[in-house]
Symmetry: C2
Subunit: 410 residues, 2 copies
């Protein structure tokens, strides 16, 4: 039995919490499992370091920023190893450069190419607990790299995949993946299981439990992920391959995002090249576009509507003002008061009528749909922001996701 | 021209100070020199990290403590490299593991075996400024090691030696090496030059400007050290080989130490093995003994007197109480109200009468001498603590060290 544990920033946010983590790891070790523990920086530490760099440079050198930020996780891994040894366990920290977690050279957002597993396996074979700082690696030249925010999840999954671990347990400040945001409806229910695909759709839509790259990696290498709370105990949520049983549930969860704005480029003559004239400038400006919907009217005029993060919306609008004359667009519109609600479920693949059921539920509540977009296992609707939470609650009930009992305290 | 700069914790203690360091380095670079900059942790950082570890373990694992502490210097080196790049210079940080500063495995107090200079030279050859975190290395297995408190000085000198640098400039919060502690007499004078040997005697006696190991290393490899203030400018003090000119000055400086206590084991029958029965238990207990003086009286009884750090004195006394019966000692005495004054100077080698002049000066002030100990270039006397500062001032004047003009503010 080989398990990888990963503890996030709040789970190692104080000396007391580090001691709790050590106790949990030792308990697991007593059961006989080989353990690799991946840790994040103590909560607040990465921001503290970024603020130092920000005080010296508006755009701090990326290579050196990685040298700086990687210390956060290094500190935690040393402190956890010290605690484990203090408690009588045999533990050793191994940095990204010592294991050799080899990445590309994209500082600040590097991708893992290879994990040299031999050294870590030989240490585990001696019965030692290995503590690994998450988020960091080295490139082919030996430069320190980091994997981007939330990268410790990716480190944990990559290590689990390389070592062929039985499970990768992700300890965080929530006790699993929920059918929807419990802040919106108390009827939200923890899922016992969810498929990788569902998790990917949920994560990208706002259920920020796991870094999306880590889920992609887990799916690629079939690493079972168990998301648990390091504070409350509980069974958590297992993220794994789809199993036939799971298909009985058509909709697994409902995600909600009110951080986007919608821009419409109206009545554009429908000519080849229109889309690239619209989205080219946005891509050049580094603006990420989420939903895109285009309708062509009978007069050969197209309305192109897309959504971006609210923070980018004004900039995107300005770019469209510049592009509009060349496109022959008749009008431009921006709406920042929107919410996107998505229902996600692998069962949609084999069930028809899900979309129409969604539209019917929202219609019954008198909610108008401003945009609709669908994928294989997801249907997203944009509505006025003020109706967003009502829509989530109605869909949660309508698709039978409500908890039998409302739990007041989580 | 290749220079190594080293900046201590207070010199990089804030973002403003890091910017000042960057400006100084860039100014030096503009003169055409190749530069390696060695930096300490920001002041307070090492203590902050030690406190974290101390909160988790009374005796934190030494290997992991090195993993922890080495982050302090890593942070500074990244921040300085970021600042240099922000100011338009081409700079890159290189950690102990990247340069490969190879040490033994004595965690917390490692010795440098080798510095693999090829990589650092190839980076310098590209015209880049290299920023190196002090205090850290790796052992043959790739474990992170640290060199002990003040180890950044040693890193700087070792790098300078390996690269055959023209000079190693140590920037600190004092503007050089003084003839004695300026807190004791305002007539204290900055020395333009001092020999390695003199510096070694002065450093070990309380002039805490440079880590003693770094001076030993500088002497071994003939690396000229220039000690300067990073705040006030000024010429600083050059620590270098003795030159004939220097011998004109007989006494270079006077050091003063009131942190020792004196213990006497009295009237011990003078037999072989006595000394080892006294100092064996002290060594086993890890107590460092400084001065040792033994006199044998005509009755074949010896008085053995030694000094230790005040912090160890009570413990040492208890050990002597246990040893006294086996030694046949008649009495034990402890005196914690002492001060040690030493005059240091290479010129003593070729000048006679220095000791008698010292004793005469002290006699004139009515100061009784409790212990006397001499080495090739140093004479130390122990006096009552209350006379210590008076003794320093009298000797400073008596040996012609007083500054022509008293500088009120340094």
């Amino acid at each position: 039995m080989l398990v990888v544990h990963k503890y996030g920033g709040t789970s190692v946010g104080s000396l007391d919490r580090i001691r709790s983590v050590a106790e949990r790891v030792i308990a697991e070790r007593r059961k006989g499992a080989d353990i690799v523990v991946v840790v994040s920086a103590m909560s607040g530490e990465t921001d503290r370091l970024l603020k130092l760099a920000g005080g010296l440079s508006r755009f701090p050198d990326e290579r050196e920023t990685d040298v700086l930020l990687s210390t956060g996780e290094q500190v935690t891994s040393a402190l956890l190893a010290i605690t484990l040894k203090e408690m009588g366990a045999d533990a050793v920290s191994m940095l990204g450069s010592q294991i050799r977690i080899v990445t590309d050279s994209a500082h600040g957002n590097a991708r893992i190419d290879e994990i040299e597993k031999e050294k870590i396996l030989s240490v585990l074979a001696k019965g030692r607990i290995v503590v690994v700082p998450g988020f960091q690696g080295i490139d082919g030249e030996g430069n320190i790299t980091t994997l981007g925010r939330g990268g410790s999840d990716t480190t944990a999954v990559a290590v689990a995949a390389a070592l062929k671990a039985d499970v990768c347990e992700i300890y965080t400040d929530v006790d699993g993946v929920y059918t929807t945001d419990p802040h919106i409806t108390k009827k939200a229910r923890r899922l016992d299981r969810v498929s990788y695909e569902e998790m990917l759709e949920m994560a990208s839509l706002g259920a920020k439990v796991l870094q999306i790259r880590s889920v992609e990696l887990a799916r690629k290498y079939s690493v079972p992920l168990l998301v648990k709370s390091s504070f409350t105990g509980g069974k958590g949520t297992l993220v794994c391959e789809e199993v036939p049983m799971m298909e009985q549930v058509v909709v697994a969860g409902i995600s909600y995002n009110k951080n986007e704005a919608k821009i419409t480029v109206g009545e554009v003559p429908d000519r080849p090249g229109t889309a690239s004239k619209i989205f080219g400038p946005l891509a050049e400006a580094g603006i990420v576009v989420d939903m895109i919907v285009q309708n062509v009217s009978h007069e050969g005029l197209a309305d192109m509507t897309f959504t971006t993060a609210k923070a980018d919306a004004r900039k995107a609008y300005k770019l469209m003002e510049a592009a509009a004359p060349g496109l022959g667009a008749k009008y431009l519109a921006i709406d920042e008061d929107i919410a996107k609600i998505s229902i996600v479920g692998s069962g949609m693949r084999s069930h028809s009528g899900i979309a129409s059921k969604m539209f019917a539920i929202l219609f019954e509540e008198g909610i108008n749909l401003e945009m609709i977009s669908t994928s294989e296992i997801k249907i997203s609707c944009v509505v006025k922001e003020k109706y967003g939470e009502l829509a989530v609650r109605a869909l949660h009930t309508g698709f039978g996701l409500d908890a039998a009992e409302v739990v007041e305290e989580r």
